[in-house]
């Protein structure tokens, strides 16, 4: 049964969903994330396969094929929605950080 979209995604959740915009198998997901983040984010197999099981159960991804002991997956609409929501949340965070960087203490003190 498909569940409601989660509000906050952890870093591995975000990158795994992102990587499944295209059809990929497990090892390929790990390689793609490492490439995308220039080695900054590495996802271990234990973390990855637990996430894949959870995403499949929640209807965020679907299995596309199962051949030669390799399952491939692709993101589903619910999963796309989760990424969009996460990106919006992160954008809000960045906007807030940008405002602070610009210096808005006076605005805060005079807000009343």
């Amino acid at each position: 049964m498909k569940k409601e979209t989660q509000k906050i995604l952890t870093q591995p959740m975000f990158y795994v969903l992102l990587s499944l915009k295209e059809v990929r198998h497990g090892y390929e997901i790990m390689q793609y994330v490492e490439w995308l983040t220039k080695g900054r984010v590495k996802i271990g197999p234990g973390t990855l396969y637990s996430l894949l099981s959870k995403f499949e159960e929640d209807g965020w991804i679907k299995m596309v094929s199962d051949y030669n002991n390799k399952k491939t997956y692709k993101i589903d609409p619910l999963g796309e929605e989760a990424i969009v929501q996460e990106m919006e949340r992160l954008e809000l965070l960045l906007n807030d950080a940008a405002r602070v960087k610009e210096g808005n203490e006076d605005e805060f003190q005079n807000r009343k």
Binding site: Y27, T47, N69
Partner: protein, 494 residues
């Protein structure tokens, strides 16, 4: 020897500690090869090596799903492609190793995700533990009653075996629950602060000991079962094994075919409920059939009883032989090494006689067994308690109850009613027991101990030395001299 067996304990709260243990074992030339039931660790011989071990939580099986062989193979090959070698697995963990100094990507790279998996495993385990405790408490109470007061608890080995185990199971479960809850409480805070998971260093010695004890008692249980079925030819034991076996097979088939399938969750839940219902119905139906079979008995030309058995049958008390059904169930336990129950039954005329023979280990145990039979005889009298209370309250003098069974006259009945109701009921019940369960004061049987167990004297318990014989007959009076003579001769008590 090329393998080694170890009694250990792996769970979500201590598995990194075990990784260190495996490293130590590897330096001594032992590599973990298999883990059964989370406690039985099997190692295989290797050349002593310095190895790094990594244990990753990886849910292989839940109530409704099970990873297929290809899924497990895929996971394994991915772990191997990042530098690890497969060692062993359990339902919730995979164990890998590599040589020290060789680079490999960690199997778990995110603490928060790892903790979520542990929480998922832990919640299910805790639910199972709560259910276990409730079930064991019930079994303990039931077994305790049987062992302390019941006849079967004395003669049957199974309650005696389970009674030893149950307190250990309960305490073991409590220890686990305590440590699990402590682990989750502490680490929920740790994770929210961005810290690493802190694992338990508790040694769980008690849990390991409980597993060892359970294994030992299981072996004794199986030996006793085989002895009962093969040597004592106790078909009841054999029949008793069939329902749990059928239930086990049903769950096994569910595990093999339904769990790994891609059936929707709703269908899998339906299948599981169906099996649970079947698991309840099968034993009930089976034992109903068994009971009917026992009541009807067997009709054979040749009796199943040889002269070695001290039992009485319907034809011992008839002038003309009648068609008789009979059944014999043999038992054995530590306290009562030899015992059997013989049922003799006829339809025309309708009669039945039950003989229960027991030879206790010591005379003191035989005396205790006689007292158990006396306690057992009080139970049907106790069932009348509510009825007595009702009649006393309403002022209804029921002759069959008060006059016949308690020898309470109408005058006495009215006097009792005037006093406290609770005392009146107690007095009536006491009188019924005193009338029903009486010693053979006249020494009619001339044995070490004899008690008549009901008002009609159609139930009796006899003891001579270590031998105890209980007889229940539908229409015999065991105070009758003729009946005594025939019974004593047949039971070889002269």
């Amino acid at each position: 020897m090329n393998f080694k067996i170890e009694n250990n304990y792996i769970s979500i709260i201590n598995y990194p500690t075990l990784a260190k243990h495996f490293e130590k074992m590897a330096t001594k030339g032992w590599l973990i090869n298999k883990i059964y039931l989370g406690n039985l660790f099997i190692y295989k011989r290797i050349t002593p090596k310095n190895l790094d071990f990594a244990i990753t939580p990886y849910i292989v099986e839940t109530q409704y799903s099970r990873k297929s062989k290809s899924e497990l193979e895929e996971f394994r090959s991915v772990c191997e492609s990042v530098g690890w070698n497969y060692a062993a697995k359990t339902t919730n963990f995979h164990i890998y190793y590599k040589e020290k100094g060789i680079e490999a990507l960690s199997l778990q790279t995110d603490t928060e995700e790892e903790f979520k998996i542990l929480e998922s495993i832990g919640k299910k385990h805790l639910s199972a533990l709560y259910f276990q405790i409730a079930m064991f408490l019930f079994l303990f109470w039931f077994n305790l009653q049987q062992l302390l007061t019941g006849v079967d608890g004395f003669k049957d080995a199974f309650p005696q075996l389970f009674f030893v185990l149950i307190p250990f199971f309960i305490l073991s479960s409590i220890i686990e629950i305590y440590h699990f809850k402590k682990f989750f409480k502490h680490n929920s805070t740790q994770i929210s602060l961005g810290e690493d998971i802190t694992f338990s260093r508790f040694n769980f010695r008690f849990n390991k000991f409980t597993f060892l004890l359970t294994s030992l008692i299981l072996v004794i249980f199986i030996i006793h079962l085989l002895y009962g079925v093969l040597f004592l030819e106790n078909t009841i034991l054999l029949y008793g094994v069939i329902p749990p076996l059928l239930v086990f097979i049903s769950f096994f088939l569910y595990r093999i075919f339904v769990k790994p399938s891609r059936m929707p969750m709703k269908s899998k839940k339906r299948e599981l409920i169906f099996i649970l219902v079947l698991a309840t119905i099968i034993p009930v139906l089976f034992f109903s059939f068994l009971t009917m079979n026992l009541i009807n008995g067997k009709n054979e030309d040749n009796s199943i009883i040889s002269e070695d058995y001290k039992v009485i049958s319907i034809n011992d008390f008839t002038i003309e032989e009648v068609s008789e059904g009979e059944d014999l169930i043999r038992q054995s336990s530590l306290l009562v090494p030899v015992s059997y129950v013989y049922y003799s039954h006829s339809d025309k005329p309708y009669r039945n006689i039950t003989t229960e023979y027991s030879k206790a280990l010591t005379e003191d145990l035989a005396i205790t067994l006689v007292n158990r039979y006396k306690n057992q005889a009080e139970i049907p009298i106790e069932w009348n308690r509510q009825e007595i209370e009702y009649f006393l309250k309403e002022g209804i003098y029921k002759e069959s109850l008060f006059k016949r069974d308690a020898k309470i006259s109408e005058e006495e009945f009215n006097t009792l009613r005037k006093g406290d109701l609770k005392n009146a009921v107690e007095t009536a019940v006491r009188k019924m027991k005193d009338l029903a369960i009486i010693k053979d004061h006249e020494n009619l049987w001339d044995l070490d101990e004899v008690y008549f167990l009901n008002v009609n004297k159609s139930e009796i318990v006899l003891r001579q030395g270590k031998e105890v014989i209980f007889i229940e007959a539908s229409d015999l009076n065991f105070a009758d001299s003729e009946v005594i003579e025939i019974a004593k001769k047949k039971l070889d008590l002269n």
